[in-house]
Symmetry: C2
Subunit: 273 residues, 2 copies
Amino acid sequence: MSHCLINGQALSHIDARHRGLAFGDGVFETCFSQQGRVRFLADHLDRLNRGIRALQLRWEQDDAEHLLVEIQSLLDPDNAPAVIKIMLLRQSQGRGYDYDPQRQTTERIVMRNAYQPPDWVATGARLVMSRRYASSNPDLAGIKHLNRLDSVLARQDARNQQAHEALLCLPDGRLVEGSMSNVYLRLAGRWVTPELGCAGVEGIIRRRLVEAAPLGLGCKKIDKTEVPKAEAAMISNSLLGLVPVIELAGRPLAPPEPDELTLFRRVAGLNHV
Amino acid sequence: MSHCLINGQALSHIDARHRGLAFGDGVFETCFSQQGRVRFLADHLDRLNRGIRALQLRWEQDDAEHLLVEIQSLLDPDNAPAVIKIMLLRQSQGRGYDYDPQRQTTERIVMRNAYQPPDWVATGARLVMSRRYASSNPDLAGIKHLNRLDSVLARQDARNQQAHEALLCLPDGRLVEGSMSNVYLRLAGRWVTPELGCAGVEGIIRRRLVEAAPLGLGCKKIDKTEVPKAEAAMISNSLLGLVPVIELAGRPLAPPEPDELTLFRRVAGLNHV
């Protein structure tokens, strides 16, 4: 059973001429919810706001209030875990890429779907290197916009190699992220995660970890040639939480120490995954 | 009056959960049509095929035949110029970026809208440099996919400076294209157009010109610092045709010689714009 609201109405379809479809002109979030609440809701709203500013979407106090009501109305009163997906799309009259900033509107789509974390969240993830490149644009880096073809292409590399996730790099060799996750490596005893100044999505959990810097975790330019030197690795996203990596680019990897994982999860606010 | 077909049906809306919206997982074309025919139809279909291969969309002989019938059925028998927009979108079961390549389908959207070329096509275009970057990804360069946020952002720079088009560069300074057009510069007597190996859309007219190489036109790495040295410039897209540039980055520019423009238009197959 699934549920969808478009601007607060129980609708499930949008105009095929919508700018959201034509250009990917919008942003989105996928949030974990359970027991009638959304985990990391403030963080998701914060990232939406960064996306709104980056794309210069129209967003008034009213819109923000409507969105909260709509999210609340979709929450399941029972215990079942679910994904709340939020999309904010620019709509405007006229044709082509142009829009009148004074006459644009932002459409809200909120959906709920049942969610069951995959088994490997508990057992650990097998990661491969994607032969696809991360899309790069400093104007769009970090935000969770709707231009996600690089992740779509990389995801097939994971599928083709029976892996759980595929890591993307830039053409210059810099590691960026997984197709659906941020990545953390322990290199020469220090935990690092790739800088996202040019490409990638700044994940909710990544942001929390980078701010708290457990065990000195820092952002760094990481070349793909450093990946095989990792002593341990983790990936994160808002739905999966923090997941230990047990295989990296064809090589078995010892999972992070239980203490490391416990600390990172606590700092990220993931008391139980 | 406008018309829309989705998989051959007179429909105008798509599911809000569609991968086309969620990820921009598809390709499109905007074609000029008049007098019951589509200009450059074979070229547009050819570029669609390159996009289909790049995204590994499912596309059988049947799909191609249906698409042609749908385009034909939307053509206006009268004389009015129109845009035929084609979108091919991947759809598949399941959630997230993943899809089963054996179970994907490709949905066809074909629309017709009235088209009137803007006045400045005849008088010449004023171009500014966008402060926005072109999105870069060698896996996606050249094809006309639905991840077009860079063009959306750059278009606002044209609007804000009352210009007709804004040119985008990569962070390393390389010129790529306009927000909705390819660009040609005469530099030290030679006509050149930016290489599109990392970013940009390979336009129909650009491809025709590069293949025929009138006056020695060639693809080249062009740094943005070379733009002010241009002696003449043109832009092209399938709807506008080839348009002389009369102002470039705040500097008035003499339009190309009439002979140059005539030759380029003839070579491109634009006998009358």
